[in-house]
Amino acid sequence: MHEIRATLPPDQVAPAMRLAREAGIQRVSVADVYVHGPDQRQQVVSVETSTPKARAFVEALLGSSDIRGADCSITSRELRAIVNGEDVAALTKPMSEPFPDVIQDLWQLSHLTVSYLARAAAGALLLATGILDNNAVAIVVAALFLPFLAEVLAIGFGLWSRDGRLTARGLRAIGVSMTLAYAGGAVVAAIQGGPIHFTDFRSPLSSFAISAVIGIAAGLSNADDTGRRYLIGVAAAVQLAIFPVWFGAATIIGLPEQAVIWLRLGSL
């Protein structure tokens, strides 16, 4: 469920209300506001409705040449509950979210901040201990906060929506995550020493199949209120982060004999 608010010049309110009705939204609130900056009186059109209707309304607003030509802003909020007499079965449909929700979420998650770097570094260190000791608990816990999936999805969504800046952001963030993962593996290996006990690499074909399933599930969940995308992020982090961490550790310790065999088999 979403609330969509559009702050519009008064002459655009009637077209916006018409678009809301066409999207199947019956209740539309309108309030007068004074917007500092442009220093003008505008009106806020607000609807609280199911996610599919909110998406239809946002798409109609952004597709309207009248409204697009005006000075306006549109915001979207996810709601926990709406009690307004509408049928709960229709109201709680969770797919799919409006386009701006999806793309701005990926933009937000692809910014390189101190917090991002701390999560990537801490996750890499924890994953390195898990790989050196072959400790599944440490590997899964590390994958819970390793930033990988949203950044890969940013690449995919940027390609699909032809937003080159988002694709570049995703690539840069993934590059940083990979570098920190490699460094984390090397640091833990230098402190803890070897050998690397983790050897449970999948065959290239099964790894490809798992990656394909993760990509489709993650893409669909990305636009779903109930997608629980962070849980899929664990699977993606394991699928992507193990390689640079393992290589970082192997750079310090040396390749285990079994791994050399695996590498040779894999390169056939």
Binding site: G69, S96, W160, S161, F208
Partner: protein, 41 residues
């Protein structure tokens, strides 16, 4: 080396299959997605 190759394959597979998923959602996109006040569109 197989491991870096596998990493690249996983990366490409996840990102490209997510493109398939986004296509299936039929989200409308393009130049119209930003509000005019953001300076683009």
């Amino acid at each position: 080396m197989a491991a870096p190759r596998q990493l690249v394959i996983n990366l490409l597979t996840i990102s490209l299959t997510s493109v398939l998923a986004y296509s299936a959602l039929h989200l409308k996109h393009g130049s119209g997605w930003r509000a005019p006040s953001s300076g683009r569109g």
